[in-house]
């Protein structure tokens, strides 16, 4: 068994992916570079949700709140203070983490659907405050023209920055999922009662998981403002939470990269089909129904399972 974090083959694949991403803007129009950036940001958000949903078994129904709070923190720091942008980039995930601590601390007392219902109400409360507080958050207008650092003002540079930060975040998430914390977190998902019986403080384990997920959602929020230059309350409305939940299910919530794939499908579908019809969600709905019937583990979940069984069969043939 290899002792490294990845096998040599995975390193090779990773290097190839990074190389593709590095040269992509040379061949793509500004629009597609922007689209890929948006997929990466949304994918990072969906993957942060999946940390608690797929790995922790927690029904975090209103995850977009942490994304929104990250984005607003970044925007407000840029607009209202003269601090260098690095502080805004640091403050965004920290603010999201602190909010996760607060909401999570209340919610972990409940389990399963009750957790989800309480979480959605507390999240909506935050949304309502942001939506109404005109003097501070700009209310339903949001904040536009957020000054982004000079170096990131071109879409190509914003794309490189977004990709780099996303890659680092994915690497950290991968480490976390495979760390002792990640293993035990998955154990609490499978069987909370048994986890208590092996000496795990389940609620504390869940709270730390929620904070980690909130942190990465906050990073995604700050990246969104970097690309878009504006924030608006819709970023933390419950419909977006539902959308990223669908991305997780669509891509496969028991596979690491599943939510990223789900995000790519939804974002591209919305952008491409949205040009032709405003009823693009109809197509998404049909896809979801097919998914439930034929690929209950999600697209990527389905292919990893197939690939895994073929590999096992090949090994048994040897």
């Amino acid at each position: 068994m290899s002792k490294g974090v990845f096998s040599p083959k995975t390193w090779l694949l990773l290097a190839a992916a990074v190389a593709c991403m590095a040269v992509a803007p040379q061949f793509l129009s500004r629009f597609y570079t922007y689209l890929i950036s948006l997929v990466l940001v949304t994918g990072l958000l969906a993957m942060s949700l999946n940390l608690v949903l797929g790995y922790g078994g927690l029904y975090q129904f209103h995850h977009a709140v942490f994304y929104g709070v990250g984005a607003y923190t970044f925007a407000l720091m840029r607009v209202k203070t003269g601090l260098p942008s690095i502080w805004a980039y640091l403050a965004a995930p920290v603010a999201a983490l602190l909010l996760s601590l607060l909401i999570g601390w209340i919610c972990v007392r409940l389990s399963k659907l009750y957790f989800g219902m309480l979480q959605i109400s507390l999240g909506s409360l935050v949304w309502a405050i942001v939506y109404r507080w005109y003097s501070f958050t700009g209310g339903d207008d949001g904040i536009h023209g957020v000054p982004v650092p000079e170096a990131l003002s071109s879409i190509d540079n914003a794309y490189y920055f977004t990709s780099a930060v996303t890659l680092v975040c994915l690497f950290l998430m991968y480490l976390i999922v495979n760390s002792p914390f990640g293993r035990v977190f998955q154990a609490t998902r499978d069987n909370p009662e048994r986890s208590e019986a092996i000496g795990v403080n389940v609620k504390r384990q869940q709270l730390v998981g929620l904070m980690v997920a909130g942190f990465f959602a906050g990073v995604a929020g700050s990246l969104f403002v970097t690309i878009e230059g504006s924030v608006f309350p819709d970023m933390m409305f419950w419909t977006l939470s539902l959308e990223i939940l669908i991305m997780c299910l669509l891509g496969g919530w028991f596979s690491f990269f599943g939510p990223m794939l789900g995000a790519a499908i939804v974002v591209v579908l919305r952008t491409v089909m949205g040009i032709h019809t405003e009823y693009w969600t109809l197509i998404l709905g049909v896809m979801l129904m097919l998914l439930i019937f034929f690929l209950p583990e999600g697209v990527l979940g389905y292919f990893t399972a197939r690939w895994g069984s073929r590999r096992r069969a090949a090994m048994e043939d040897l």
Binding site: M1, V184, V200, N201
Partner: protein, 245 residues
């Protein structure tokens, strides 16, 4: 090592356990027997903290542990193997056992070290001891029922307990699996120095391996003593062994 005195627990007015009394000495195998609904599982759950007693005392190594949360009791050295298979069904056999060891080593908040490198030897030793080493990477939900019960015990061993509580360890097992499990229980006390408390329906098994037997009926302890004393007790014969033989 463990002293349970007059412990009580009722559910919605139904007295599941009243006057539960039990003494477990270090290094012994103690069995709890009694008809269905006598309160055996409830008693075990009271000891391990999965249920809070309404009254009475539970002392472990001289300290009162009644009403503490399960994870605290587990950290004091009492480990429970459940009656119903209660494993981490999406994790591999290795990960199931390793989770218990990582928890004992207080590594559950270590976020950045690859878990694959940690506690390998100890995990392998336990899996070898219970005989599951050929199913190491199998997802635990795909195991045969008997193997899942054995994995259940292996998880409990991962906590390196001093007192291991087994709730019907051989329930639903084939005769071969039962024999293997008995062999395992004997080995655990002899080689690892464990104290074992278990309950079981199979009387032959109980009398064959238990040093002491405690008999329960309708939530109350009737008697506790060595096999021959229990067998000879008129109350037990009438109440439980049916007096038929």
């Amino acid at each position: 090592m463990l002293e349970v005195r007059d412990v009580r627990k009722s559910f919605d007015g139904f007295m599941a356990v009243n006057e539960g009394n039990l003494t477990v000495e270090r290094g012994k195998i103690v069995a709890v027997i009694g008809p269905n609904g006598a309160g055996k599982s409830t008693l075990f759950k009271l000891i391990t903290g999965h249920l809070k007693p309404d009254g009475g005392s539970i002392r472990y190594k001289g300290e009162d542990i009644a009403g503490l949360p399960p994870y605290t009791i587990c950290r004091r050295g009492i480990s429970l193997s459940f009656q119903i298979v209660n494993i981490f069904h999406r994790l591999s056999v290795f990960d199931n056992v390793q989770a218990a060891i990582l928890s004992r080593q207080r590594k559950t908040f270590n976020l950045f070290t690859p878990a694959a490198r940690l506690a390998r030897e100890e995990t392998m030793r336990i899996i070898d001891a219970v005989g599951l080493s050929d199913r190491l990477d199998a997802v635990s939900s795909t195991l045969a029922y008997g193997d899942q019960k054995v994995l259940e015990i292996a998880i409990a061993l991962g906590n390196d307990p001093e007192l291991l509580i087994l709730d019907e360890p051989t329930a639903g097992m084939s005769p071969e699996e039962t024999a293997a499990t008995i062999g395992l229980i004997r080995r655990l006390t002899r080689e690892m120095g464990l104290t074992i408390l278990f309950c079981e329906h199979d009387m032959e098994l109980v009398f064959a391996i238990a040093d002491e037997i405690m008999v329960m009926r309708q939530g109350a302890t009737i008697i506790q003593g060595p096999g021959e004393v229990v067998r000879a007790d008129p109350d037990v014969q009438e109440a439980y062994l049916g007096g038929g033989h």
